[in-house]
């Protein structure tokens, strides 16, 4: 059971590494999803260990927010790809035309 605490920390850190190191936007979004997964796991573990049920609700809200985040993020990527034909962060110098 306690191994899951380490797992959630690991997922968060791995997601962070990926988000910092990756150059393309899609991989960065994937890594952010990993981070969110790690945090959600931690919330559930805390609710299990303290009996405080509200933290499970936080997971529900996190899922709503991650859905919105992914949807808008990917829309932006598609719009960007249409205009600039690239998805690399270092090739995007300006956002407005």
């Amino acid at each position: 059971m306690s191994i899951y605490y380490y797992l959630s920390a690991f997922l968060f850190c791995l997601g962070l590494i990926g988000t910092i190191l990756k150059k393309d936007l899609i991989s960065m979004l994937l890594c952010i999803e990993l981070m969110l997964g790690g945090v959600a796991l931690l919330f559930i573990l805390f609710s299990k260990s303290t009996g405080f049920i509200d933290s499970q609700l936080m997971v529900i809200f996190m899922m709503i927010i991650s859905a919105c985040e992914v949807a808008i993020g990917l829309s932006l990527i598609i719009a960007l790809y249409r205009n600039k034909q690239t998805i690399y962060t270092d090739e995007i110098k300006i956002i407005t035309e």
Binding site: I60, I64, A67, V70, A71, L74, S75, I78
Partner: protein
Amino acid sequence: MEFASFIVFFVIACTLGGVLLGISSLLGQKRKIVRKNDVYESGVNAVGSATRQYDVKFYLTAILFLLFDVEIVFLLPWAMTFNQASNQAFLLKGFIFFMVILLVGYIFVINSKALKWDE
């Protein structure tokens, strides 16, 4: 107990599929004919690669599904609690507010013709 049953079921289902695949690759005959391994494109030589740009409508469908699905998923627990709840009037108000917002989003989507495929 529940979880153990689930794991057993899952593992047996996977094994079943694996065994079926294994049987056919063991028993099936093998002939090396190069033409057979080409891309099928109605009998003519394939043009270009399959990874090309597809219509953005597919993506819009998926994205709208995600957002509406989240809304509907959070109606399910509401539907479960309503019958035994003591404060049904309050829950109903919440439901109506929720539905109004859902409908505003839905009407926007339909009005924007984002899902019109026949143009």
